[in-house]
Amino acid sequence: MLTKRIIPCLDIKDGRTVKGVNFESLRDAGDPVELGALYAKEGADELVFLDITATNEKRKTLSELVKRIAGHINIPFTVGGGISSVQDVSVLLNNGADKISVNTAAFKTPELIDSLAKEFGRQCVVLAIDTRMEDDGEWYVYLNGGRVKTETKCFDWAKRAVDLGAGEILLTSMNHDGTKKGFALDITKKLATELPVPVIASGGGGTMEHFADVYNDANADAALAASIFHFKEIAIPDLKRYLQSRGIVVRL
């Protein structure tokens, strides 16, 4: 059976992992390649690298980093952050990335999704959405790393993006991100059950139960987290054994 996936996310700035990590076993905790390789060895199913510098002058650093990651890691990985053109994507995929994620640029120029899907195949186009539930009870799309609100509803944008060629949705709830109180089950479930593509839930995972909930109750295909893995609050092998004990199919 196809398994549910666990995806550690590494934020990269100037070629280094940020948000801190806490691994005594690493020689250099800031090196994304070393940390990624460790997660791969522990049983992570995929990795996501988000470049939060993502300015044009840093792009070259990123493509070199992607090449190093691809050389050392034997599981699939996605690269995101500031991607806005077919050319950007071409460089990253040619350097060994398996998928790329687009966010703000795709919202501003939706045809980008169509161009990327036609050029590289929809399987490598991940649409990242940052969303927040407002007082009216609706989930809205936010841009620029959550700094700019739009009037577009999350589900409407996700559906349109899938129609344009997005092959996967990486959904981050800003209400839940950083709280460690659990994933946003309702909006994740809406997307995961009503769209024909896999949905990666992100934001709020704090305990092993939270992961079980987002797979069982929200039908998420994958769940992403960062600091709980970086600070060893949850070890991936323990998490997988727990999920298996809850009847969830995972790769062990």
Partner: protein
């Protein structure tokens, strides 16, 4: 040993090169007929769409060249599908080594298409799967699949059981990505190199 990766318009070549590098193997990426013919082993990876890939292979007469190869050949993902006779993807006549037809997953069964992620493989047969444990997990991304048939050497289930690997004479094919399938994948690549 000379290992060649066939260069065409549907390669995901970098990751395959890196996986070989981790096994200590250098490979030559080329579409040169003589280089390919002289290789000890030939890898035929691919990610993309069947009809445009076949058209490209035909334009460079690579389809006939591949069919005539006598050394071990390993098709990966789309590469494996192109080694079959026919694909439902844009009704494409393929190279025609394996008779198993390539069909599209039935999208009325409530499962997402493409299948993206890790799935277990079983009924594993040597030599390609020597030392790979039954029900090992491998990484797959695909909307089309090879039916079960006489050349099936590994099976996986998604919507229905299908050929996740094929073997006939000197030709091998795997639907999954050995270059992205952690330990199980690198054993398969190593087995192919050691054939």
């Amino acid at each position: 040993m000379k290992l060649v990766i066939i260069k065409y318009n549907a390669g995901n070549i970098q990751s395959v090169l890196f996986a070989l590098e981790r096994l200590g193997i250098d490979a030559l990426v080329t579409d040169d007929h003589e280089e390919i013919k002289q290789a000890d082993k030939v890898l035929f990876p691919g990610v993309g769409e069947a009809s445009s890939a076949m058209k490209y292979l035909q334009n460079f007469h690579l389809d006939w060249l591949i069919k005539e190869l006598k050394q071990p050949v390993l098709g990966i993902c789309l590469g494996m599908q192109l080694l079959c006779s026919h694909s439902e993807e844009n009704d494409t006549k393929c190279i025609g080594i394996f008779e198993e037809p390539i069909k599209r997953f039935d999208d009325t069964q409530g499962l997402k298409i493409p299948q993206i992620g890790w799935n277990n493989i079983y009924n594993l047969q040597p030599p390609l799967f020597k030392n790979v444990k039954e029900n090992s997990y491998v990484y797959l991304v695909h909307s089309y699949y090879a039916s079960l048939g006489e050349h099936t050497i590994a099976t996986a289930d998604y919507i229905e059981p299908f050929s996740v690997a094929l073997h006939k004479n000197n030709f091998y094919g795997v639907q999954f990505h050995p270059e992205k399938s952690a330990e199980a994948g690198s054993i398969v690549l190593k087995n192919f190199i050691e054939l």
